[in-house]
Subunit: 458 residues, 2 copies
């Protein structure tokens, strides 16, 4: 995972793609402007436009005034939660293999293309999507689009490459096993969701990776990497029409766009997936004990996510938060302590993550539980409400200067949300959160039964 996939507290959101935005006419594309932002003098500082290409491929871009770079991402609506036990780790394995060569380019050619212009080029796999992304100077954007289109549509998945990459992934799994933070968060998900796609680690296991065949991965690629499951998102100094032309050329290889399909809408949950409370422990010879203590949270579509965002900030979002003050400042129990809220289509988690010396574990758990109980009983103060909103608002506005954050915002909204909220709308939703909203969600979530994951030497 890269920083583009940091957990969201509710700022990610989205709107109104219902209106005539799909095309089943093989050669026709529909475009519309979703948002325009002007400054005090009426100058346009940002414009978001969206086009649906033949085959259902969506292209969404945000032009930013005064910027010389561009960020681009191809967001694919497939991740580890699509995987049966036999396919466990397949999405991530495939993400790796897409860098290994196409009909036109060797793996080295792909690397050279973006290295030569100093671009940042990477990918990550999550539970519900996979993203291939680059940041380049504006003049190099067509090159980045072409390399991405080539990889997405025409990767070879050469059997020899599959074998070499299998070893790389086994090493990556060993690396995650040496990272206490990865280990404890994987355990937490395993307890919360059990032996199900959401509960299993994204990278797979040594056994599942050893067993995957080239044929299984290739079938997975052909099945899930289709125009209708994808969004091409770009932000920065981007001309939307030129981008769309370039995407048509680069993704139109070998008739890849010639299909009669409409964009696959965001996954909607028929019902919420329940979380299983309980304690899960693993013994590892680490110096620290790492702990995640949490509960079932809310889904991505839940409007209460804005209140939860403010609550999360007041509870454990900054150095002025209750947890940081109680656990670290007043008692010196731990160096790192924070709370989080993560959202999926049909489930969500809230929790507290902390690492401490083994001798402090009981005190840490007691303090964290006491703080959760207190906020569940009393909510937060007026002052904390104001500060929490200021922190979310400030972070949001500061993030706007980064084309990668903007690209990620619009791409993810298009793929997994039902709407793209403008920044002003997001700020209005944050500002609209009341003390009562926070008290209500705190009382509901923090009175739920505990999911507790512990990794350490005892």
């Amino acid at each position: 995972m890269s920083k583009l996939d940091a957990p969201t507290t509710g700022q990610q959101a989205s709107a109104g793609r219902s209106s005539g935005s799909t095309s089943t006419n093989a050669r026709k594309a529909t475009t519309r402007t979703l948002q325009t932002v002007t400054d005090g003098e009426g100058q346009v500082t940002s414009r978001v436009r969206r086009t649906v290409l033949p085959g259902g491929l969506r292209v969404i871009s945000e032009h930013m005034a005064g910027v010389r770079s561009a960020s681009i991402g191809v967001w694919v609506g497939v991740g580890s939660r699509e995987e049966t036990p036999a396919l466990h780790g397949c999405s991530h394995f495939l993400e790796h293999l897409l860098f290994k060569g196409t009909e036109e380019r060797s793996a080295l050619d792909i690397s050279i293309a973006l290295d030569a212009v100093g671009g940042e080029f990477n990918a990550f796999t999550a539970k519900e999507y996979t993203c291939f992304h680059a940041r380049v100077l504006d003049e190099d954007l067509p090159l980045a689009v072409d390399v991405l289109g080539d990889m997405i549509t025409s990767s070879r998945l050469d059997p020899a490459d599959v074998e070499a990459e299998r070893d790389v992934i086994l090493d990556e799994i060993a690396m995650h096993d040496d990272d206490p933070d990865d280990v404890v968060h994987n355990l937490f998900a395993a307890q919360a969701w059990g032996d199900s796609p959401l509960g299993r680690p994204i990278a797979g296991t040594v056994e599942s990776i050893a067993a995957l065949t080239r044929e299984q991965i290739h079938r997975f690629y052909r099945r899930h990497y289709r125009p209708a499951t994808m969004v091409v998102a770009a932000a920065g100094n981007v001309d939307h029409a030129a981008l769309v032309r370039q995407v048509r050329r680069s993704f139109g290889r070998q008739g890849w766009l010639d299909r009669a399909e409409a964009p696959v809408p965001p996954r909607h949950a028929a019902r919420t997936r329940r979380v299983t409370p309980g304690t899960i422990e693993a013994t590892r010879p680490f110096e620290q004990v790492n702990v995640v203590l949490g509960m079932e949270g809310v889904t991505r579509q839940d409007d209460r996510r804005f209140a939860l965002g403010v609550l999360n900030t007041a509870l454990g979002g900054g150095t002025s938060s209750r947890l940081f003050q109680e656990v670290r400042e007043h008692r010196g129990l731990a160096y790192s302590v924070f709370s989080f809220a993560s959202h999926h289509a049909d489930s969500g988690l809230v929790g507290v993550s902390v690492g401490c010396l083994p001798s402090k574990l009981d005190d840490v758990l007691a303090v964290v539980r006491a703080e959760l109980a207190k906020v569940a009983a009393e909510g937060i103060t007026e002052e904390e409400l104001g500060r929490g909103k200021g922190m979310l608002r400030g972070g949001l506005v500061l993030g706007l200067e980064d084309s990668g954050s903007r690209m990620s915002r619009i791409g993810k909204a298009e793929l997994v949300y039902d709407e793209l909220l403008s920044i002003d709308e997001v700020i209005a939703r944050i500002d609209g959160v009341t003390l009562d909203d926070v008290r209500t969600i705190a009382a509901e979530l923090f009175s739920r039964a505990e999911v507790l994951a512990i990794v350490g030497p005892r």
Copy 2:
């Protein structure tokens, strides 16, 4: 350490502060413009100005057009290499304590001030400097300057806070001990520089932290945190004159600026500190073996750092590099492999960092040694030279959009380099590197005796 302190490959550089830039007149400040950059239409897109305040405090700022945020850092010319064995870990301990409260503000007040406006606020300690930095909306810059000025000049170092923070640091040390990457790089430095300030870990040891007294830390604070050892650097939507006024107010508390001292110049090495070759191993129950294999490099002032930057890029700087291609792409031996070059006033290191499964260690070492020998014997190709330059140039230009990178560039240049090179000058130096320059430095460095650090389960 934060991302602001990532290892540099030679892009960091600096110029010409010799001319009348110091003031020993207690109330007079001298200001000059160091650099102005204009765009194609003659509009000023960036301007760097520098002022020396009474007491020798330097203020340097870069105005960036079209940006609404500002990054600020206070760079203090003290780090772990100032520490005697009895003071080991003192710089970092002190960095923590500066967040614990002043005469005017409690620790909570300090946290609240910047959390409330959504600012990012942190600090890091390195071997030769300590930096306190923030990123805020432009309108909140005076607030950030005031909080920083208060912390730097008027921290209480309350005995009870020293005790609570001692526990936090012991936990931080345990966290580093659980990070294979931190462990292997600390070992590498220990082998290279032995039991000396440069060779010891920045955070100290359990024993040295347990032994430090409040009085020792307080003396260290009074001795090293002086106007003449510091640079206040800011970049973004910054008005230099307003910044200087604010710094005078905030750092002028209790007559702190009323001293007759000139800025302390960058540390200059009377002679280069030699590196001790050899192998150092530590057994830890990790899944992976982590290895750093390197040699003595060049100092920060060495003009060959630009050629070394290009060499480092071609050897192990991107996915098209020789090491990535040979170790990962062709043989699947490791997930992560890269080369680095780090620079200090009187010493430097070059090397290769890699993590792999224990069964692959011998192969990894053989491939890395073969690649180093090859580049030492033959240099790099014309194509690699062009690509390496493109990658450095592109990365440099892409970094310019981030106010944090710009702040870091000018602040570090002022503190530890003799000159501030303009971006155009840096690019000219990179472009000026020849095949011969690269071959010469490769032959010299990679024929030196090996420093090898290995951490793993065997």
